[in-house]
Amino acid sequence: MAGVHKSSSWTQSGAFAGVVSAEPCHLVLETSPPDYVKKISRYLESSVGRDEVSNEIAGADSDSGDSLFLTQKQVPEAVRSGKREHLSLRSKPVSPRDLEGSDAGSLSSDSHEEPKTAKDERYKKQPSISSLPKFSLPFLSGRKLKGKARDTRLSNMQNKTLHNSAMGGFFKCLIEGYERGHDAQSSLPTVDVEGQDISSLSDAPGGDNLPYEVQRAQEINRLFGPKGSPEAYDVIFDLHNTTSNMGCTLILESSKDHFNLQMMNYIKKAIAPASCLVLLNEHPLLKYSTSRSVAKHPVGLEVGPQPQGVLRSNIFEAMRVILKHALDFIELFNEGMEFPPCTVEVFWVSERIDYPRDANGNIIAMVHPNLQDCDWEPLNPGDPMFQTFDGKTIHYQGSGTVYPTFINEAAYYEKQQAFVTTRRETLLASAIRKA
């Protein structure tokens, strides 16, 4: 692999220019409120030594109750119960006063794993991120337009960050409300507008105005859920590809899902010596609500590397094999086979690492060639992590060795993620048997 070819033959008029700085941006987003930051740090600190969790698993009974065991009876098809209450996103630009009350968290409830298909037609018609309502902040000096006009709308990247953070602020209010013992209704943040009667978001009308994916998520919840109810499907396999070099990966959402743990153990053993790793995404801040989470036992299959819009034979075959073993497991379980206690090695998501960016939100460095394609390999403090476009190396500054994954996933540039770090843990799965 060639190093960066240092160019000495170009000349630049004037002095060597650094990063072009944007006009100052006074968004509240730039600094989190101190108490929120402290909360995140406290959690991250306490989660570094996670031994107590494994012990927890060992002693726990099945936490999913009766729903762990598939019954002989066929699960009745979920019936549409008529028009449900809809979540509606804010469609009006927000005034600066409203922003002051919201938290600058990094929470995002966006569904992160978009199913990638090879159908270019659908991809072509998909609305871009510029179809999100655009916030406009009048106090920005703004981009110069024709004549004397100024465009005070945020850039697409800033706009998306603000939407994500607003969502995060919403959920934070909800969580805090629950913790204080309030119900959902009174936990919802409201905008204090004099004389106006503010309804909770879930009451708001406008089903047709909802983004396509929100409508579709509600449809999926009707068909395969409702999420959290006894009628929900037992298992959903959610098939995904990634541009990252993750190989075959199973994604687990709960360290206490013994059925899933047993399934994943079975799959790993069945495809050995080929490898199939387990990614556990159970982080209170980084976790997101997936379409598969509608079922009692959500299972993510993530296979890569494969570019979006491309079908590779080897990737297709790998996914087919994993799914075959997963279905074999279910068949064996349904036939009454008992699966004794077992241990499952998992990679537990710790932290999301973003690209270094400039004031406009554009990335200023790429995943370093030494880290590129090295999913699941140890990353030690001091190891190269990013390479700037002019060839400088940025090193990993963490306190210990981590195991990165989702390295350079195409879909995550807009979600401010270059890779996630994980730590290796061993979970104990209890014995399971059909009731």
């Binding site: 160019s7 270019d120 541009t243 979006q308 491309v310 590129q372």
Partner: protein, 314 residues
């Protein structure tokens, strides 16, 4: 062959983001703009983000592929209110860097692209041109990090549909494999090296150096092959065979596997021995191309040197 003289190449354009999700060119152009690169020796450099709306949305195009919009016919057709964005933008680019075919056009246009195919670094030339062949020879002799190849399309100028045909001399730099929407450091470094070498050659040429001619190998497209499809739904029924996948420019013989159907059958290559490339390029599913097939040819070209017009040679 007798040595040929050319006037200096004093106006050069480096373009990226012609397809908005091919990231090497996007970041290359942004980086050059940040560093205010506008000169290479005596040549002036213009950097252009060709399709800014597509770059913003991280899509190949908004309405239609801009890199098919540069034929004489499309460039001269009048615009209406309902004209696709890319037709509009193509005319803007033609006005800025062309007009195509005229004396005002830039001397050299280099358009940076990525592909999901395992093609290493390729120069795509729409016609035989001694300047671009010399640049190719120069890059090939100096780059060791990846194979460097040339693909020659042989399209007459009025029908040439791609952006680089706007310049008096032009070539596309096609580098892969890289997924859409992703910037890989190794691929970016290759692109940077190729652009640096092009600038190096340019400066040497403009200061009067001679470059020895010779012969180079190039590939010239014979035909393209589509995926097997279901006759009723038109959906593909097979994927590129694992033995063909990633083997761009490896000779394909009759009987060699090309596709593996979803039900497990192998489809084989029929006809003459040819060299496949653009194998499993993402953007070509909609163009009904699984891969192109090419003949390998040898191109002879003379030594050249840069002389000012007043020297009497042209």
């Amino acid at each position: 062959m007798e040595r040929v003289s050319f006037p200096p190449l004093s106006r050069v354009a480096i373009c990226g983001g012609t397809h908005g999700n091919e990231m090497s060119g996007v970041y290359m152009v942004r980086e050059m703009q940040k560093r205010k690169v506008d000169q290479a020796g005596s040549a002036s450099i213009t950097t252009v983000l060709s399709n800014p709306r597509a770059v913003d949305a991280c899509r190949r195009y908004i309405d239609q592929d801009i890199n098919r919009c540069f034929t004489d016919a499309l460039l001269s057709a009048p615009l209406t209110d309902s004209s696709p964005y890319e037709l509009r933008r193509a005319k803007e680019l033609n006005a800025q860097l062309g007009p195509k075919g005229s004396q005002e056009a830039v001397d050299l246009l280099c358009d940076i692209h990525n592909t999901t195919s395992n093609m290493g670094l390729c120069l795509i030339l729409y016609s035989v041109d001694y300047i671009t062949l010399h640049i190719y020879k120069y890059i090939q002799s100096k780059m060791t990090s990846t194979p460097v190849r040339a693909i020659q399309l042989d399209i007459p100028l009025p029908e040439a549909y791609s952006f680089e045909s706007v310049g008096k001399h032009g070539f596309a730099l096609e580098v892969g494999p890289q997924p859409n929407g992703v910037v890989r450091a190794d691929i970016y470094n290759m692109v940077k090296e190729a652009v640096d070498l092009t600038m190096e050659w340019l400066q040497a040429f403009n200061s009067g150096s001679s470059f020895e001619g010779g012969e180079v190998e190039a590939y010239t497209t014979e035909r393209s092959v589509d995926y097997p499809r279901d006759p009723t739904t038109n959906e593909i029924t097979a994927a590129i065979h694992p033995q063909l996948q990633d083997n761009d420019f490896k000779l394909l013989r009759p009987g060699d596997p090309t596709f593996l159907t979803f039900s497990g059958e192998t489809v084989k290559h029929e006809g003459e021995e040819l060299y496949p490339f653009f194998i499993n390029e993402c953007a070509y599913y909609e163009k009904k191309i699984a891969f192109h097939l090419a003949k390998k040819i040898t191109l002879n070209f003379p030594s050249i040197s840069g002389h000012s017009v007043s020297d009497g040679h042209f």
